[in-house]
Amino acid sequence: MIKNKETFRQQKKVQNSIFTFLAFAFFVFSMLQLNIVPERIVRSIDRLGYIFSNMFPPVTNEPLNLFGAAIESIQVAILGTILGVLISLFLAVLAAKNLTFSPYLSYFIKAFAGFVRAVPALIWALLFIVAVGLGPTPGILALAINSIGMLVKVYGEALEEIDMGIVEALESAGATKLQVILQGVFPSVLTAFTAWSLFRLDVNIRYSAILGVVGAGGIGWELMKAAQMSRYDEALMVTIVIFGMVMSAEVISEFMKKRTNAATAQALN
């Protein structure tokens, strides 16, 4: 028995060593395939040092432009999130196995959401630009559709986990489907939905900052301009503004969460 355990451990150790070795070998192989050789690394470190030293102090020549672009990015993210949340609320109810009208509809919506989610937001933006033209609109639509992909999944999972007893209880009181969903189901999943929606806002703000890269409006374009002119000090300034955007979104959503919780605590004691 003890011997068995010992050999098992030995085996596991050998296995682990093989794993580690394979992982390392694949790393070296990948480096070679990408033509990342010491000489190039040294050269890029050199270039990185150059970029870094040219980044300071961060400046901007057109503060108003930069500010306006940042605002536009935030607006794109807000609209993309709101549209995504509203449409997902509706679709998620139809996609949840326990609430849907037909299982086929549920499969169809889930498959649609899965596909939409797997294609990155930036590619959606690229496609929407071709379809509807440049500007913030393709950005908003791209974020909305990418949000739907994720939110339908997570909302649907939350809905499928609810206690079906609530649904039965309200139905046996003679409530209609809509009443069951709004009075029984949504209060039970509200916290989860809020958390996921705010998380998605956070993700969308990060995306919105880079949508400009493909021409979908916002601060990303400012970054492209600065980088193409090798103005690293300006690029750093844009980066700092992006950092600020992401941070402020976190602070605001935290504030809103606290306010709601305080009100709820006051009303239910």
């Binding site: 039965e168 209880a169 003679g174 809509l178 009443q179 039970s188």
Partner: protein, 255 residues
């Protein structure tokens, strides 16, 4: 008082996998009766009760409630019938994140227009009635607490209040005390009995505790293997009958 309120004729329920849960059950219930259904677990008690308001769809038979066939009712009709039948569950089935009083108000959903109910726009009269009912089940102090802050026994009393608020003519209770301790069980059963006497509800309760059944019932129905095995007043339920109901019948038990 002797008017028949519920008439069940040849009720059958077969699950898709072929299991026969209910076999040709017929039962006639008079207004104001307090019926307790007993039987071993898996005998079909729960399926039977849930078939009455079609939470579980019957496969055949008739259920005449106030002379109307529930089995044949369409959705709109079914809703109207359901609001007239209060249901109490083993797991309480309250919306845990909402205040107690809102859970009681949910009993009124069947009487409201879809949108008014969906948005929770309850009027002053409705709220006052709900608060009154809560007081009657001894929970006036808990009215504004979140439902999940209450103890199990208290939650079941909220569920009773919700059923009362439907102003039903009949109440179905599916194992209402199975997940409660003996003290809480007694309190809940007392409130249920009191409510039914005060309001004149006809009541059908599933219980697996025979002593409770004998104490509260006017009439006892024993179900075994999906069939009515015994139906009569409490004093006719002898020890032999109880033994027979709960005995494992080797022939009838599917392996």
């Amino acid at each position: 008082m002797m008017e028949t309120i519920l008439e069940i004729k040849h009720l059958n329920k077969t699950y898709p996998d072929g299991t026969e849960a209910l076999k040709d059950i017929s039962l006639s219930v008079k207004k104001g009766e307090f019926i307790v259904i007993i039987g071993p677990s898996g005998a079909g008690k729960s399926t039977f009760l849930r078939s009455i308001n079609r939470l579980s769809e019957p496969s055949g038979g008739e259920i005449l409630f106030h002379g109307e066939d529930i089995v044949k009712a369409n959705r709109a009709k079914l809703r109207k019938i359901r609001r007239n039948i209060g249901m109490i569950f083993q797991g309480f089935n309250l919306v845990k994140r909402l205040p107690t009083v809102r859970n009681v108000l949910h009993g009124k959903l069947g009487y409201m227009s879809t949108w008014k109910g969906a948005l929770g726009l309850f009027g002053q009269e409705e709220v006052e009635e709900a608060l009154d009912i809560l007081e009657r089940v001894g929970l006036e102090k808990q009215a504004f607490k979140r439902a999940d802050e209450l103890s199990g026994g208290q939650q079941q009393r909220v569920a009773i209040a919700r059923a009362i608020n439907q102003s039903p003519s009949m109440i179905l209770a599916d194992e209402p005390i199975a997940s409660l301790d003996p003290n809480a069980s007694r309190v809940v059963m007392d409130y249920l009995q009191k409510a039914c006497r005060d309001e004149g509800f006809t009541t059908i309760v599933n219980l697996h505790q025979v002593d409770f059944a004998k104490e509260y019932a006017d009439r006892i129905v024993g179900i075994k293997n999906g069939e009515v095995y015994f139906d009569g007043p409490v004093h006719e339920l002898t020890e032999d009958v109880i033994k027979a109901i709960y005995a494992t019948d080797k022939e009838a038990m599917p392996v």
